[in-house]
């Protein structure tokens, strides 16, 4: 499991070259724990789609059934950090400083999709927003905003 900085830098540049954000996700054990996946939408574009297929171990409220709010939060935080690693030239694991999440609709027991936008990149801080939806991107189930320390 343990990885050194050199291997990480190598894997990151390889993933960027091959347009495969999934390779970065595979480095992080938590992503397979919840089952997060990622791909680029069009070749050469930096637009990454993240998704989380339904699985019983992600259920929070079995009486609805609904996806656990913490899983939605964890998934958005993970997506935002992958976005930073994939689209920016950052070769350290970004540290989360704060994370703010608004739940808009219940997460039904279906696949969750997410996309992220880097709003500002400074020398030390990056601000990223992430939006999650299920059936339709027009009806998001949650939005998140996140600050990462990258120095």
């Amino acid at each position: 499991m343990s990885l050194d900085l050199e291997q990480l830098t190598l894997s990151l540049s390889q993933a960027r070259q091959q347009s495969s954000p999934q390779q970065i996700l595979d480095l992080i054990p938590y992503s397979s724990f919840i089952g997060a996946q990622a791909k680029v939408l069009k070749a050469d574009s930096e637009n990454v789609l993240y998704w989380l297929e339904r699985r019983a171990s992600n259920i929070g409220n079995p009486s609805l059934p609904a996806i656990h709010g913490g899983v939605i939060g964890g998934f958005l935080e993970l997506s935002a950090s992958i976005e930073v690693l994939y689209t920016l030239d950052v070769n350290v694991v970004p540290k989360v400083v704060d994370f703010s999440l608004d739940y808009l609709r219940p997460g039904r027991y279906k696949t969750i999709y997410a996309n992220c936008t880097v709003l500002r990149q400074g020398k030390k801080l990056v601000n990223v927003t992430a939006t999650a939806w299920q059936d339709n991107p027009e009806t998001p189930i949650a939005t998140a905003r996140c600050h990462f320390l990258i120095s």
Binding site: S32, N58, L64, H68, G73, G74, K95, F99, Y109
Partner: protein, 172 residues
């Protein structure tokens, strides 16, 4: 401890520790009081977020604090209702130490007719030196899905079909 909480605690423990994501993460509710809940979580390699240092992923802290604050909110209910999270804000003070348990506590500091305001914190050695602090708000929603008949029907379906029952429920 009053009688209501004495009956309530094992039910809450069962609902939080044994189902879905709670069971997958594997935490324990260590204290349940009126509007106050404490939990602890033992370190696991499966949930590491930083492969270099072995620190757990922030998503785990989100799940722990969301569950803990949500549980604290449930303990203040007078009638059966679901308590969806409206929003959650988390500040990370410093990274968690690998291979050490994480303790979480949450408290409802204001309870109104529709909304519950909670705050929570996560720490390892010293509660005064938290790894994260959060504030969260929860809605009170009285839902028909909580009626006695519906709960019994779902329990029965899950007993018969196991996890497939969730898919049937969602596909309806």
């Amino acid at each position: 401890m009053n009688l209501k909480l004495a009956i309530f605690k094992p039910m809450l423990k069962l609902a939080m520790e044994r189902t879905g994501h709670g069971a997958a993460l594997g935490f324990e509710l260590t204290r349940v009081g009126y509007g106050e809940v404490e939990m602890s979580f033992a370190y696991k390699e499966e949930v590491v977020g930083n492969p270099i240092t072995g620190v757990v992923h922030g998503g785990v802290i989100v799940s722990l604090l969301d569950t803990c604050c949500g549980s604290a909110a449930i303990t203040t209910l007078k009638r059966p209702a679901i308590t969806p999270t409206m929003d959650l804000r988390l500040d990370y003070m410093h990274p968690a130490e690998p291979n050490q348990p994480i303790h979480v506590s949450a408290k409802v500091y204001r309870n109104t007719s529709n909304v519950m305001f909670c705050r929570g914190s996560a720490w390892q050695d010293d509660p005064e030196n938290p790894i994260a602090h959060c504030v969260a708000t929860f809605m009170k929603v009285e839902s028909p899905s909580l009626s006695f008949g519906n709960v019994v029907r779902r329990r029965f379906n899950r007993f018969i079909h196991g996890n497939k029952a969730f898919e049937k429920e969602a596909d309806k």
